[in-house]
Subunit: 214 residues, 2 copies
């Protein structure tokens, strides 16, 4: 029988540091991520919770240079489009100063989908809220993210993309919902403060304002 | 200047154990969760990533016994309804043997919402995929979950509920989307294998089948 682990205060402190220093990374060093590390991260991701144990996550490693270029071009277009929609010259200038993804140079790019047609798990827990399948995939990504950071790697989640375009470019089954493009690699610099805060876009709020009672 | 943490192999092993032993918990011991622990968990949750740093998570602690009872009654009704829709007598019998939530006896119940009307973050990153706001809240819940487990506490995510009923019962602003009811407390027993697997509902799959390349 495997004994359950006991987590000590030193581990909890390190876990708190991991959460605090996680960051969304958009600037990567060029060193490739070793194949066994990629495999380890993708395996760890699948320890995430999933509704009814449906495990609906589908990971697609983008290995073709042409595909990566097409994805980058698409995202750059959507980034520009979202910029034009920003209200007022001040927000527009702040937006233009942001770097929003590292798709063009991250050592590894992984597209993540949710298989909404999966029969695994028998639909348990998803009757009233089918979005819980997508949410399971989100927790798999978050698990990968934390595991990567614990190995000194950075991850960036790119969401400024049109799902139908990514789905068409990557030619995945029609029931696969697009969730994220992930950039992975060694970060140029570690940071405690989010890039959006450092660049003056949006600071972290006092969390207590988001808690109430009934 | 704060130096970035260096995570060592012992920490990574413990993190892997944390992910492996996380579990969705439905059976709790009666001891209350200390107030400072609840506060610490809710603060840790808000270290999660959020789209455009929008921090759209809203936590509502359910303190009223009457409200908890109404929520439990509602969820029990939805659990029964989902059971009737299960295909065939075998799946129905397996479903009937499952315990799907600990709302009636968990020491702490927290409802979680996503404020879809928030202006924090200026809409950055959510233009093409507004669901990324909800997904940020999901990662906050996952962060709370892991932090709780590192303290020996268990969490259960209840999703068999009608969002409009929970929203009405808890009387939250109309723009708050319901994400989850969380049960929190000391688990009756730690487990390495998911309850749904132990009870024969759905086993964990070989994760490599969920990875492909393009």
């Amino acid at each position: 029988m495997t004994l359950p682990p006991r987590f000590d205060p030193a581990f909890r402190d390190d876990l708190a540091a991991l959460l605090s220093w996680r960051r969304d990374v958009r600037r990567f060093r060029p060193e490739p991520v070793a194949e066994d590390v990629v495999a380890e991260l993708l395996a760890a991701a699948q320890l995430a919770p999933s509704v009814g144990n449906s495990q609906p996550w589908r990971f697609v490693r983008v290995r073709s240079a042409a595909l990566r270029e097409a994805l980058t071009r698409h995202v750059d277009g959507e980034v520009a489009r979202a910029g034009e929609a920003m209200p007022g010259p001040e927000r527009r200038a702040a937006y233009a100063a942001l770097k929003l993804h590292g798709l063009d140079h991250a050592p590894e790019v992984i597209a993540v989908f949710c298989d909404d047609a999966t029969e695994i798990g028998g639909g348990l827990g998803a009757a009233t809220m089918p979005q819980t399948r997508e949410w399971s995939v989100v927790m798999a990504i978050h698990t990968l993210w934390l595991t990567a950071r614990a190995k000194g790697l950075g991850l960036g989640w790119v969401s400024i993309a049109a799902p139908e375009t990514v789905t068409a470019l990557l030619d995945v089954p029609p029931a696969w919902n697009f969730i994220a493009l992930l950039c992975l690699g060694e970060p140029e610099e570690p940071h405690l403060v989010p890039e959006l805060q450092r660049l003056g876009w949006q600071a972290r709020l006092d969390g207590s304002t988001h808690v109430s009672e009934r």
